[in-house]
């Protein structure tokens, strides 16, 4: 492990890779601040750039930098405008915005930056401990277990979707899997479901799908409802003056950071949970354990209330790299896009990543430390200037967002039909969003679809049928777990409702 860390240090501290981290963080912060462009869209736009670099380590470092930068940028717009660019930073606005309203925008940004830094750094340390351990377990896995593991991942994503949403999330996952079967797979060497169209021969491009699922609906919502993403600030509050916080406030933050970075990390590791749940849960936990007067402060500009979600969402972002790097299974939309980028660069993430290409594995982890440092020392002082981007009128902003969305899909493929598909899928995604269907499961299903089928087919061929499910206890166990994950939420909801009805009758 030490050897690996040294290789990683050497790779991460090359001038090129440090430049990548800095550039990634800056670009991420810059775009992440804009309403309508979350981390997924930004990473999707940056993928062609990253692929052109040719070096997988540098590419992944750039994209990871963009990811942190985007989360940080999202926090900034949450605090300054009460307009979170990212779902993961909604909880940040609960206390960040009231603080900014009190004229303490500078302090709020610093607290957010310090909390993010601590969360990200502690998360990266936990990642260094847990990823190698998980990798060594995962090395024992065969294709049957991989197949089962992916089923668990996909079920978990649906199970965490929330009450009344499990079936909808499953439906989206299946749609994603179905879309993945379009085109000529490597496995069978014959085109499937192309409807005779040449453009579908190579399947649907995942960048196009990612753009269509996230960037386009968000941009369309900005057009449809001008109130969305517009600054709710009544002016004056986003003057960023004093960036300091007091010693007492610093002391109050320390236990919050300690608790939330660990909690956030483990929530991030779970597939499907991710930064959004981590930040809301972090906020709720801290509010519940706060005492009297401090609890009153929550929602009115509490230091703890701001530090908690910021620490948790960054730790969760780092945590979400664990399943990606060790199992090759993305737990969130963003890591799914990163996985797509890695595959495009001919790197297969999984347990072998650490042993076969330690320079990629460790360089990414080391660059997480550098990235967090860059955000703290470089981006924070620059925030007052970067925040000027928020004053761009929407008449200018929206055409550019649409243009970047189109470019992201076009550059990778150089095919104008891709753009038509983008618009079509984007309209579909917008309708899904209107009907409250979650879209991340669709994308994750799409990206995992090919791998899921490959592993399924391989185990079927090895065991000449479905025998592998019964002959390999681990596979069976994982599949049972997957079934439980899907069925448990609705069972518990049903029981809770029955009980509630019983009480009502008893009265």
């Amino acid at each position: 492990m030490l050897e690996g860390i040294l290789i990683g240090l050497e790779a991460a501290f090359s001038v090129k890779n440090i430049l990548m981290v800095v550039a990634g963080c800056l670009i991420g912060t810059f775009i992440g601040m804009l309403p309508g462009l979350g981390p997924m869209s930004i990473i999707a736009i940056m993928i062609p750039v990253a692929i052109t670099l040719g070096d997988p380590a540098a590419a992944l470092i750039l994209l990871a930098g963009v990811y942190y930068g985007a989360i940080f940028g999202g926090s900034t717009s949450s605090i300054l405008l009460n307009a979170p660019g990212v779902a993961g930073t909604v909880a940040t606005s609960f206390d960040g915005y009231p603080m900014a309203r009190k004229g303490q925008a500078g302090k709020a940004l610093t607290i957010a930056a310090v909390a993010s830094f601590a969360g990200g750094t502690i998360g990266a340390i936990l990642l260094m401990i847990f990823a190698p351990a998980l990798s060594s377990v995962a090395l024992l896995f065969h294709s049957a277990e991989y197949f089962a593991l992916m089923v668990v991942g996909l079920s978990a994503i649906a199970a965490f979707a929330g009450t009344g949403q499990v079936a909808k999330a499953l439906m989206m996952t299946i749609l994603g899997l179905i879309l993945a079967t379009v085109g000529e797979g490597a496995l069978f060497n014959m085109p499937r479901f192309t409807m005779g169209l040449m453009d579908l021969q190579s399947g649907i491009s995942f960048i196009t799908l990612a753009m269509a699922m996230f960037a386009l609906p968000e941009a369309l919502f900005l057009v449809l409802n001008p109130a969305r993403g517009a600054s709710n600030a009544e002016g004056g509050s986003n003057k960023i003056t004093n960036l300091r916080f007091s010693r007492e406030e610093g002391k109050a933050m320390i236990p919050v950071i300690g608790r939330q970075s660990v909690q956030g990390f483990f929530i991030g590791v779970l597939p499907g949970a991710g930064a959004t749940i981590a930040s809301f849960l972090g906020y709720a936990v801290e509010r519940n354990i706060a005492k009297g007067g401090e609890r009153e402060e929550f929602g009115k500009g509490s230091v703890k209330g701001l530090a908690a979600p910021e620490t948790a969402n960054n730790a969760a972002c780092t945590g979400s790299f664990v399943p990606l790097l060790t199992l090759g299974i993305p737990g969130s939309g963003t890591t799914a896009i990163l996985l797509g980028a890695l595959i495009a660069l001919n790197v297969t993430p999984g347990p072998r990543l650490m042993t076969d290409t330690p320079e990629i594995f460790w360089a990414v982890i080391i660059s997480m430390f550098i990235g967090n440092l860059v955000l703290l020392v470089l981006n924070l002082p620059l925030i007052p200037y970067i925040a000027k981007i928020l004053s761009i009128p929407r008449n200018y902003l929206i055409p550019f967002i649409l243009f970047f969305t189109l470019m992201g899909a076009y550059i990778g493929q150089n095919n104008a039909t891709e753009l038509l598909m983008l618009v079509g899928l984007g309209v579909m995604a917008t309708i899904f969003r209107f009907a409250d269907y979650p879209l991340a499961p669709l994308l994750i299903g799409f990206i995992l679809g090919t791998m899921l089928e490959d592993n399924f087919a391989r185990s079927m061929q090895l065991y000449r049928g479905l025998g592998f499910i019964l002959e390999r206890p681990m596979t069976l166990g994982l599949l049972v777990l997957a079934a439980l994950l899907v069925l448990l939420p609705s069972y518990r909801a049903r029981r809770a409702r029955k009980r509630a009805e019983g009480v009502a009758d008893g009265d």
Binding site: T52, M171, I174, L187, R228, L402, A416, V423, Y437
Partner: protein, 165 residues
Amino acid sequence: MALDRWIALIFVTFCGVYGYAAFFTMDQLLPPFMQRNPVWPSTFPKVLSVLGIIVGLIVLFGVEKTEESDGEPSATEINYRRLGDYKIGQALMLLGLMVLYALMLRPAGFLISTTTFLVIGSAILGERKFHIMILVSVLATGFVWYLVQEVLGIFLRPFPFFMGM
């Protein structure tokens, strides 16, 4: 019937068509030696279509109870029941513009089509200061083209087809 159930209905129909293709038409093309394999190209789609129909029906008939959300949705929440209040015309026009851009990108070249796209896009959104918008669009287009073509080395045809580039 609420929008989400309509979508579920369409999804079930779609899975039906997909499943029909998987169960009945796909295997006709399968060469005989592949038919001895335990997995066929149609195996996975068959499983998916069945699962899709089951899950789609669950959503369609509301087997899983959804939580009733209480209170008015906030102004920034998006809600299709308020579609009439939204600027749907602008959104449709922008979508049309994107389609047009996709069709014109090759024949008209990157520089002309992009500049036009940005100017018309902002005009649709209500911008009337054309002198600023045109200047911004031209500069931005030129910058992006330079970045993509020269720095990233990805070819983008800059000029219309008849100029021979």
